[in-house]
Subunit: 324 residues, 4 copies
């Protein structure tokens, strides 16, 4: 079966529902709407849900904040706290957990630099636990953090680097932060996905062949991702659908024109677009012009969220000060 | 008359020819094809050409290098030399010219950072002429260089900063380097435009309201630009044209389907696309994912070209060493 | 008369008092000691004070914060507010003042990058006043900001660039931020000097030949500086004095040894040190190893101080959010 | 026995010879003087040499290039080739060797960023060998490269990260690049040390507690280092010796003055200096003001040297093009 890949569980669900005209089986959905944001918790509970969604069994929390693009500092603080709450809600970290945060992506490619930028801004504390031979601290958790780069930079599979480090420092929990691709432009930099299933092959903007999950690392892996690009073919496809849709509204039902319009909006349109774009496809993305600045802002939100979620003694009052 | 804006004179010409089905009046075109590149010299010779093209009177040299994206170091050297030759060919700089190079654009926005990156890499020498009270030197020309930033960063119109500096140091020639927008994806990072008309309002990726040209600065201005983005609406428009074109090839001439397809490819399609994209339009661009690295490479080619063109004692052997 | 140059008025005063064994004439001194900091306000009130101090007539406020090196976020906030208070206390800016902030120094040289880093972090608003044609706003002042680079980067005297811009945008007040050299290691990154005399030739780490002051720019200039380096000869000189001093304490008064030690601590020692260091003198500095990180922190304190001082609607609660 | 630590084998030897007034036992020295540089090969051949030098058994090649600070591009090319020749001369890499280059140091601390900057500029190829399942290639060797950061950034001991990666990718040779501390200002950025003994605890600018050597990694480790700082106490000590020496030349032999001067130049002077500097000692370094730019240049020389040494098909003609 033809299945469009998406990094976002909410998009997998949308695609399934469009195609099958019903809710995805094996999936539980919970929605919480607030003034500034919507939280959707999609739980894939069994094999059927896994196959229908094309995603691993587990919980996928999506935070949608349509106004996040605007520079509203209070909103950013609100979302940092929400991210913290949702991370804690997954129940994977305790006060004495040893945590390793991994910033995935290529720091030289703006829309892919979210992970490395978060790493620059999280509070790293493991060195004090090592140097003072401590097991637990009242104020801060034991946190290490690294950006392993991408294979094009290091020549080494990211997963190998992470596995090598995990085997040396034995964390209780790994948190991987990554930039994602979305199918919809309006999700760019306004949607945050948090899941307890880790990173699975094929995710993210680049090609990640080895997963970072409990199977490969031996410990739970929380994945935090934000879409920062839309692939060009998807965007054209969706825009054409909108245009054809607006033409259909004006065409007479039953006319050749109408049936032809129906004809157009089939899946081979997507292949046609891909074919047309082929020569420059693999590397073309659609992204906000000011993506560098947006990534800066988002990395602060996520780093703050992590700092609040992980360290018992850090709250919103302190958190803007730990970032640079 | 509806006129699509483009920074590239070759595209203005293409648009005119598509629309009017004839060569642009008041314009002289000269083409030189080589193995690795094509040079097109478009001269707008009078008012009629100016209005038809929507561009200032003067010479617009376009260097197309389809293979420039690939990492072929010999090709890059060849193009640096070609850029140098074409700059010299404009006849605006002499051995004793005092030259000011301006790197336009926002260094925090990857596809807009071409100008600032070129400035980091050109050989700056004016300080020696000032400090040793020299008028001329056998090896190097008198070159100053600055990146004035954009209004969003400084709060000051770029043109005001440049005018302020020009009035203080009185150069004989200003060279402005800028990232451009193209209508076609395949021109991104493969086309270099060199013109002796300066920068005119509305050019470049950002909004430049004041021109940098002989009128505003009082000295000749050479503009060097490379397209680094395509605006999303244009790209979708062009892709749809290709798709509709391929459908038309298969439809029967005279059928309702065929005439409907003809219907689609009108100019209101572009407005429709713009309307659909509206919510996120102003800042969405289509750009290669690795634009940061591409800009690095292009800035070296342009900086090398400038170093060879301006300094009598610097040739290809030396030139890779002046860049960082 | 032999006079050691120092950028800090408090050091000029110390040097005068050491040499002449009395308070500097023509100078008024006011001291305010608090738990975490000391504020010293040195006013040079006449020509005699000017010549004795080797500094322009005006007010020099020195804020000493011995513990500033430590990462105490509350202390940093306290100092930002103190900086704001002292800037406002100079009485040079009003609610409707048009202000131009200049970040002096070379962004490629870590201890010289304070000015440019402050510019990255101040809130720039002039564009809104221009675009909306406003004269005054209740919340924000009219602020432009630029880092003009140094002559080695641009080939242009910094003062020429600033004068060019000032003539175009006509600010009511210029504020120049610069890294300074100190005579004492313990002032590095713990002392902030704010003066209403602008920048005068010979100040700062680099060589600035043209002043930025009311004479050259036509408007008041507030200078904000923090010492980030000690020159190597000065440091060795001071250390030797300490060592010789501790030897003298142990030597018998009247012995040849004692008189010889007295002999050593003369001013030719400084020349001797300079001679010995000569081969690598011009560019050697003594600086904390982590100066890059220290400059980051200091630039946030100064940018926050400026944001609070200049914009009527911004207070400490908001201020950490405007920095990046 | 009191032993001053130095990262450079030539300095260990100098210190031993000063102290013991004879050549170091258990050490073989070979010197090669050319117009632009001197190569000194110090081989520690047995336990006695090891203890006298305070360094591991093995070969230490020192390349001294007094004029390296000047911007002479031909000299830089010459030294890149020399570095390549000396690396190859150690006989540790073959055409089919799998090599891992490690860039040690903190990228946020300018004088410590040599290693990470070299990593940005070496040609990384392992990904092609992995993706195309190749064992050997005629033109390029199998090279991976990573900058593991420092414990203050990641919370993880550098040695653990490197060991983790080595266990995953099993290289045949590790090459570690690091910034060193020197005892003499004139060695800063003019001396390159290449050794086949790896990195041993206590080396480098920061504190590296775990060695990177055959014992810890299981494969040969070549260490390449360049001094980029002098510690402040050492520099003052050496300057004082020079000053006292010049006083002694003028004093009468046998006078109290003369014997007193003799008195001064003892080892407790060094402790005294350390005591005086104590409050700001741990982090104060003496470094050229333009160390950022110098590190850039040196990283190009080392990266070029590595590219020539490791890849059979890359020579001087190509090498300037692989760097950025």
């Amino acid at each position: 079966m033809y299945q469009i890949h998406t990094d976002l569980a909410v998009e997998s669900r949308e695609l399934y529902k469009e195609r099958e005209k019903r809710e995805v089986p094996g999936v539980e959905v919970e929605k919480e709407e607030e003034d500034n944001y919507t939280v959707t918790r999609v739980k894939i509970v069994n094999e059927i849900g896994m196959q229908s969604m094309g995603k691993a069994i587990g919980t996928y929390i999506t935070i949608d904040v349509p106004k996040l693009k605007k520079t509203d500092e209070d909103l950013k603080d609100e979302i940092s706290q929400l991210v913290a709450k949702e991370i804690k809600g997954l129940g994977k970290n305790k006060e004495d957990s040893k945590i390793l945060i991994i910033g995935l992506g290529n720091w030289n490619v703006s829309p892919d630099a979210l992970g490395p930028k978060v790493i620059e801004r999280v509070l790293v504390t493991r060195q004090y636990f090592v140097n003072y031979n401590k097991e637990i601290d009242e104020t801060v958790a034991n946190v290490a953090a690294i950006s392993p780069g991408v294979m094009g930079l290091t020549g080494i599979e990211t997963g190998e680097i992470v596995r090598g480090i995990v085997e040396k420092i034995n964390p209780d929990l790994v948190i991987a932060v990554d930039a994602l691709a979305s199918r919809k432009m309006d999700r760019i930099s306004t949607t945050i996905q948090i899941s307890d299933t880790g990173i699975n092959p094929g995710s993210g903007i680049g090609n990640k062949r080895m997963g970072l999950n409990k199977d490969t690392l031996g410990v739970p892996v929380i994945a935090i991702g934000i879409p920062t690009v839309v692939d060009a073919a998807t965007m054209i496809n969706d825009t054409m659908d909108l245009i054809v849709g607006s033409m259909k509204n004006e065409a007479q039902v039953g006319s050749e024109f109408y049936s032809m319009l129906n004809e157009i909006s089939k899946e081979d349109k997507y292949s046609l677009i891909q074919e047309v774009l082929e020569p420059f496809m693999p590397n073309v993305v659609v992204t906000p012009k000011e993506i560098d600045l947006i990534i800066d802002d988002l990395s602060i939100i996520i780093a703050n969220g992590l700092n609040i979620a992980l360290h018992p003694g850090i709250d919103l009052k302190d958190v803007n000060r730990y970032i640079r």
